[in-house]
Every structure is written in C-alpha cells, then in structure tokens.
Amino acid sequence: MQWRNSTERYGSLSMGLHWLMLLLLVAVYGCIELREFFPKGSEPREALKIWHYMLGLSVFVLVWLRLLSNITGQCGRSYWAD
C-alpha cells in the first residue's frame, strides 16, 4: 500500500492514523462510560479511569502526528467515479 495520499486513496499513514484514532476514541469513551457499572472506589472502576487517562493522553500525542502529516502531505480532493 502506498504511504502517501493520492486522489484515489489515502496513504497508509493517514489511513492508519484515522482508524487508530477511532479505536482510541471508542476506548476512551468506553472506559469512562463503563465505569458507571462499578461501585465507587472499586478496583475495576479505578482501572477504567486510569485507562481513560492514559488513552486520552495517547490521543494528545497522536494528534500532533496527524496534524503534521496533514499539513505536510497533499490530501487532494475526492472525485466522482461515475
């Protein structure tokens, strides 16, 4: 797969970052929503919170990579296939 973006397909970098970000966001939201199922102070609740923090901070790390790849890489426009 091509690393760079083209008008036909996004490159593997953009694509990877996009879907990885989706997974991360699902996990971040999931952790913080699911903690409600456990009583306050219980171990799984605390663990979910810790994961919410760590994965959220991972978003913060990755977003700069995304921004950089977005600014430097041509993304081009979509076209109509038919």
Partner: protein, 220 residues
C-alpha cells in the same frame, strides 16, 4: 468541522491533564508519571470537569456527524470520499488519478462539449464508430458554453481568507471563550484558549493559501 475535531483532540486531553493536576491526583501514562500542570484547586478542577464532560458530549455529536457525512458522500454524492479512507483494496478499475480531480471541477456542460470536440480529432477508425460533433455544432457549443476551462472565481487574498476563517463559528467560540476568561480575570486560561485559537487559525490559513495556490497552478 475538522478544525473542531482537532480542537477537541488537543483540548480534551489537555483539560483532563489540567483537571487531574488541579485535583492533586497522579497523572499516569504507561508507567510514567506526568508532572502536574497547575497547582491544586478544587474549584478550578470542578470547572474544568464540567467543560470536559460537556465537550465530551459535543464529541459524540461530532463523531456522529462525521460518520453521517461520510455516508452522505458515499451514497448521495456518490464520490470516493469514503472509499478513499477504507483499508480495502479498491475492486473497480482505477480511474486515472491525474485527470480526475480537474475534471470534477470543470463545469459539466463545458466538459461534455469539450470531450465531444476532442473526439472529432481522434483517428479515423474511432471516428467512424463515434462521429462526434460537426464543426458547426462544436462552434455553436463553444459560443453558448465557452471554452473548456476551470471556472475563475476571484483569487482570495490573505485578508479575505483570514476574514472567512475568523467568521467560522468554531473560532468565534474559541475567541469568545478567551475573552470571557479575560473578563473573569483568568489570564492563564485565556492565554491557553487564545493560543489554541491562534494555532487553529494559522493552520487553516496555511491550508487555504496552499489550496488557493494549487487551484491557480491548475488554471495555468
């Protein structure tokens, strides 16, 4: 809309970090312990927590909107926006990448007449199968539709781009928030917010200017 995503992806973790700092709690990061950004303050922690969870709800809506927009592009506009991002090999025959984006921008009528005009100049064998337009018809279409060229809107200058960027609700919100913080006497918060507003504006202007240049390059 993408700027809103970036703002959230940057500001949300930052708000979380600030919140934990203000609560005096440790900030874990895969075995590391990140430093507190601000000193302990129960009230500030409460305020950031409220903003953080409200923005979380906004995030849900944004993601939903983003997914809907992708489906809209795919099923209604029928372009390749969604397909381009899917990690699946494209099954259908690839369309020449270089010619397509240009073609998409040309007025459809002018494009149609131009390609028909073009076909009259093709080799004889193909000529018989597809006789194309007569010279008279071609001349007539040229008169009614004009040349086959990209539409030429006025080129936007820097100030125009800046104005258009600043008019977007997301920036207005950020800048408004910064001003509210300033009025409340919270200089650090105001600075932080305005700094990110400035960053977003800069990025957007850089991108707009670049696309402006690309469009210009396509015309010449």
């Amino acid at each position: 809309m993408h700027v809103a995503f970036y703002a959230l992806m940057i500001l949300m973790p930052l708000a979380g970090w600030l919140m934990l700092s203000a609560q005096g709690k440790p900030i874990p990061f895969f075995g590391l312990q990140l430093p507190a950004l601000i000193s302990e303050s129960k009230e500030l922690a409460k305020l950031i927590k409220e903003i953080h969870s409200t923005a979380g709800t906004v995030g849900y809506f944004l993601i939903g909107l983003h997914a809907l927009a992708a489906l809209f592009h795919h099923f209604v506009l029928r372009d390749n926006t969604l397909r381009r991002m899917l990690p699946i090999r494209p099954g259908s025959k690839p369309v020449p990448a270089a010619s397509q984006p240009v073609a998409a921008q040309i007025k459809p009528v002018a494009d149609a007449s131009a390609s028909e005009i073009g076909s009259t100049e093709q080799p004889a064998t193909e000529h018989e199968a597809n006789p194309g337009l007569s010279s008279a018809m071609a001349a007539e279409r040229l008169k009614s539709d004009g040349y086959n060229e990209l539409p030429r809107p006025d080129q936007r200058g820097f100030m125009r781009i800046l104005f258009e960027v600043l008019r977007q609700p997301m920036f207005a919100l950020l800048i408004g928030g910064g001003i509210v913080y300033l009025l409340m006497g919270d200089r650090i918060e105001a600075l932080l917010l305005l700094m990110f507003a400035g960053l977003s504006v800069t990025i957007t202007i850089v991108q707009e200017t670049r696309s402006e240049k690309v469009l210009e390059a396509l015309r010449t």
